[in-house]
Amino acid sequence: MKKILQITLGIVTSVGGFLEIGSVLTAAQAGAAFGYQLLWAILIGTLCLIFLVEMSGRLAAVSKHTIVDAMRERFGFPFFFIVLVGMVLVAFLVLIAEIGGIGLSLQLLTGIGFPWWAIPVSLLVWFLMWKGTFGFIENGASLLGLITISFVVGAIKLHPDWSSAATGLLPTMPHDQKARYGFIAVSILGASISPYLMYFYSSGAIEDEWDESYIGVNRAIAVLGMSFGGLLSMAVLIAAALALHPHGIQVDKFEQAALPMTSAFPKWGLGLFAVSMLVACFGAAVEISLAIAYFFAQGFGWNWSQNLEPSKNARFSLVYTIIILSSAVPLVFGVDPVKVTMISMALTAATLPIAIVPFLFLMNDPIYMGKHRNGWVSNSVVAIIILISFLLAVISIPLEIIGG
């Protein structure tokens, strides 16, 4: 009974916590510019994420190590530090985008510009982390995040032709704007396969004291939770394909991403979009801040736990405090969160290899994983993800310049 409850909660958490500014903007841009043609990118991104999240949870449950713990032990300090620098820089950019997303949502609701919201929002995010426990934050934000299911309702209300949409699940090339198509595809993959999610998930498994008996729970959460989450992203793309693509409206600004919802719900669409984004970005901001703090604490061997009061893990708490408050600074000076989002998604894609290659070694380590090592299916999938990630690493920056 307890396990069923945990699976349910885990799925709810995954669904409620799946969408954030990156996944929404990239899906909306994709739908607006290319109709259903880029659904395959969300499908592939979600499939990759399912495997990576399942492995992150399995590593934690079996070895009682988080990914960062195991990476530091196996690969040593120099390698860990290089990965730390890369991952933290990119995650910090994503955090700026999420805090900016909250600010933009509040701007839609109140008319007050997002730079004014940057400091109050970052203080609120910080305060919830300062006072809240891991369970309260994770579950609370994710339960509220279920409001993002309104994107699915919105897409259905716009009466898509499902058979046309299904054709978008197979990759095709557009007739023109190939660079832009490539750039958005890369950005969707960067938004889906976010390394910070893996680090957060494995740390959460340790916080929740998972052991080998949770392997089944982990698999259920990864498959069902991430699948439902992927469906949410697809709904955003489909709604944009219906509401924006026929009229040639591109999504370059945050408020343009709201147009599909206002088409589906003329009265409440804008409010629903703004509240959904506010909650989704809030959850993501907390996750990313924790992921960065976990990275430092686990790598350097400090006390860490979101369930302890801050003075009991002072360095861990100081790291997330500095990270969150610093993320407000560029926004106060008016840096556009939408631009930061697109750059950070491309950079996430570019830095995927350094996150995933060590992971392949860890999942095959008999000392950590015992009989729960990767089988040939998982290894093949990770190998394909690594190939995709190297390809993304090579093409994402040029595409950002040409097509972004």
Binding site: R74, F75, G76, F77, L360, F361, N364, D365, P366, I367, Y368, R373, N379
Partner: protein, 102 residues
């Protein structure tokens, strides 16, 4: 004389004739009451694979490529290693007298 073991890792080792052997990747030790006693140094590419516990990944690849090159691990007993210059470790014996680790 005191040596920082973590800085010894990855340093290139030459034999008594000046030939390259490989890099120090691992140290085999035995526990004593008050210290760890160094039994041997593992040198070579495969020693790194051993240290990363990566044989389950690498073996299928080497079998597929039919490559023997990766299986070069030398086990150097502590008596045969000269660490008076820790930045340039040398063997006290020749390469041909070294033992391969199976």
């Amino acid at each position: 004389m005191e040596i920082n073991v973590e800085l010894l890792l990855g340093t290139n080792v030459r034999d008594v004739d000046g030939d390259d052997i490989g890099r120090i990747e691992e140290l085999r030790v035995e526990r004593d009451e008050k210290a760890l006693l160094v039994d041997a140094y593992l040198i070579g590419a495969s020693a790194l694979i051993e240290r990363l516990s990566a044989w389950t990944l690498v073996r299928p690849v080497t079998r597929f490529l039919n490559s023997r090159k990766l299986y070069s691990v030398y086990r150097v007993p502590w008596q045969d290693m000269d660490l008076t210059d820790p930045l340039h470790p040398r063997l006290r014996i020749s390469k041909r007298d070294l033992r391969h680790v199976p």
